[in-house]
Symmetry: D2
Subunit: 287 residues, 4 copies
């Protein structure tokens, strides 16, 4: 890579901070606004937004770019910056990398004709992010439990990206892994990988024997009825997007340890998560 | 499984013979026509087709059901039995399990309204069959070579069903595995699995270092130009459907050992292949 | 196992508590002294030692049986019970399972002629305990770091029991594992297992590239000189028995995160550690 | 490696031929006697032994150096060369690499004071040779069987070098691996590695369920009595040194497929075997 490119980071969390550092260390120019505690020879920190900040090749927005209040996701709570506040700087020759482009965002795309890339729509990004998620889940399972994963019966609910990665790592540590799936082709892959496979319809038969359960399915799979089959010693970790796949109230009443864990990549391995953003960004920009 | 079911096997290869034996050993009734050397307490061998033969719950046809001449695939070459020869026995209450249902076949389906299941259209069947194919390919690679797979540089072209299974087994033996793929999501999975990944566009850079190359891609990927990069010591095994992905004439001229290997499951592990047919059949019949 | 046996647990830590529970759950009788928070239908808790407590088939002492002050290892700090305090109860027909039988202990063995088994002298016990130690080390490495083990360069110093188990698990998660060893046969095993091998004499060449270093060697291997080669981002976990293999003062001065972690099985997975005690005990007693 | 060294190869099998080629390709000088079909710019082929042939830094003798008749192991049957035939050329400054130094050989060592290295006494050599042996055994098992190793029940008798390597590869392919051992520490390692462990004393309970049995134990472990428990479909491969660990006569009578396979490295992967000789030789010579 020869060409020196300028990246402007507007907001984000610790992943954006790490990503900015990586980009600088690879010889590019970086400008930031709204990212705390960042330092670097080729990093210019802006405390207000202006023409110069937006004078860049690529504008990096947060992932997702908006917070729950509809403002751009910025660490520092006091900021309440909306997309239309920066409209003046959106030009046809800017490229934007962000997460969760929505209708409001696409309105500006249509208006100004700039290019953008939505990381949360990218399959490769999602696959690579399953790695820190799975490791984070394993770390938490180790912390919550007083037994080893090695030699334990571990159930993974779902065989999508996260389920596949989790199952592989857990088997690699030495757990006795069972994977629940519904599609016959997923169950065929489960056999090929050497895990025990169980169809959803037979799930109840094996719940009582599990030491750990990792859920990756975003619907209520562990309802009160199924939770009743589960040993109170079992550690349950729910990784499915909010509201998860477990009846947490029932779990509490039954005395079962169940935790909902979201956003693990940014929490347990922000540097790896930043590197993934950067890898995909390089591919998008063909640099 | 309580219910006793009657299966009639019409033609097929060694997989059907093994499958018939498995089915009988699990307590069902079996009738066969056109399968050599089969014996069993509950197997009735027919030397001509009649009403009694077709008096069954499930008719098992070959995979694929037709040979190149358009006749039903029967071991014994002297048979030249076509689908319309058995039309009289096709009734609405028969179930047919076969491979490669074509327009001719579907014409009869429409006419008589019977149920059928095409194994070659089933994803789970294809995934499970990748297992004996991959093992067969590994066996052949071991036979053709005077070095071990352990510690060797092995390239797998393609990351579909067969590529995934091959890569997993080769790494399990101890090879240093590189996988070629084109889609960025496939390359993300390659990273997740811990193989070296290479995009098709960079393939030429690594060809000279490979000790073994397994091709699973059904287009001319190893053309004369790429073959020229390859060491004459390298063993190449082509597993892609005919005509494969290698310029065999160029390989011969360049002194490179390249072999096209098809139909491995039936050749190297017919019993495992038969068991896969039976597993899917049970799932289809819900028994 | 039919026979009902009586085990008296004198002191110990959380592993003994868990072990007592497991033993009771398998149908034996248990008596305890000096173990907090234990409850069970067939567990009798003694608050003072007497003839009845010692009326047992097997006396379970702590691992190691003595604390630093030379007293029997009992959770409750107020106890200062020495071996000679219980001399009156040592008889030829008692069996003792314990850790670290020393000269004082063996004096009583000679005097009274009872059987004993020193778990810390047992190779199988040590191998099995490497499992929770390795998992604990992995959990800590995950906690201390902001990157994933998957895809990281990980160095394991030493290829004894703990080194072997650690290397296997780390590779199973997806790390790029290098093992340092000195004996050529150990390096041959490293090759066989598919890790990168490095001889101690070449260690300095690769230190700067490691993201994680796990030490299992009980001598000063990472001295100030070698620490200078190591990146300040590297996480170092020292698992070698006190005082470990790292110059911690130099590490602190150089800004390197290095942690000494001992007794991990009892801390991170006391139940698994208890189960190992029980498995070996059953083998010793042939029950 | 800068220094150019002269190696004289006296006899041997295909491994020595390959080894001579490797050594030449790494820039050293090679002389050969009694090795067929060898060619190379820096290889001088001698058809009779003389002073010039022995004018070398290292004399490479076969592994083992003697054949059954007591002559030096030379491919060409017509040679009947004994050690005392070359006595005149043994000097104090020669170094000899060979296999199975016996009393006769050591007599000359004592007399002339030259250095030698017995590869068959070297633990690292034996460990590395287990790799081609294990791969060869797997290749043969695949050839002899009509089922896949993946998903099969596979029993490995013994957990020495070959047993360890075999078990690891078989699990890597996807077999369900059980390992028989006698020492409790070996069984602890079996648990750590995630195989099923079985003590010799319980072996009879599981014999009937195995699809493949690999023996590595050099005593009669599969006697007529145990063979009677084994299914006639089971493929047995005996890798223990002659006469192996199986009652072959009983196996034949019982209709069980059992094969004794020796010297696999030289047969299935002579180039890898040659490379191992070279790696150890370099280590011995510190080049």
């Amino acid at each position: 890579m020869q060409e020196k490119i300028t990246f402007s980071f507007l907001g984000g969390d610790i992943r954006q901070r790490e990503c900015a550092s990586i980009i600088e260390s690879e010889g590019h120019k970086v400008k930031t606004f709204g990212i705390d505690n960042i330092l670097g020879k080729d990093i210019t920190v802006y405390d207000k937004l202006n023409e110069t900040f937006f004078n860049c090749d690529v504008l990096m927005l947060p992932i997702p770019y908006k917070n729950k209040k509809g403002f751009i996701n910025i660490m520092d709570e006091k900021h309440s910056l909306a997309l239309n506040d920066i409209e003046a700087y959106l030009k046809s020759d800017i490229k934007i990398i962000l997460g969760k482009a929505d209708n409001e965002f696409r309105k500006y795309v249509d208006k100004y004709g700039f290019e953008y890339f939505d990381l949360l729509q990218d399959e490769a990004f999602a696959i690579l992010n399953a790695i820190p998620s799975a490791e984070g889940a394993i770390q938490l399972a180790m912390e919550y439990s007083d037994i080893t994963l090695h030699g334990s019966n571990v159930l993974v609910l779902g065989f999508g990206r996260l389920g596949k990665t989790l199952a592989r790592m857990l088997k690699g540590i030495g757990a006795n892994v069972t994977v629940e799936a519904r599609k016959s082709e997923d169950l065929a892959w489960v056999v090929e990988n050497g895990y025990n496979g169980i169809h959803l319809s037979n799930l109840n038969n094996i719940l009582s024997k599990q030491d750990f359960i990792f859920n990756t399915i975003p619907f209520l799979i562990l309802d009160r009825n199924r939770l009743k089959q589960i040993n109170t010693q079992t550690v349950i970790i729910d990784l499915a997007s909010y509201p998860g796949g477990i009846d947490f109230e029932a779990a509490r009443e039954l005395g079962i340890k169940a935790k909902l864990e979201l956003g693990l990549p940014g929490i347990v391995a922000p540097k790896s998560a930043a590197r993934i953003i950067w890898e995909i960004t390089k591919e998008v920009l063909k640099i």
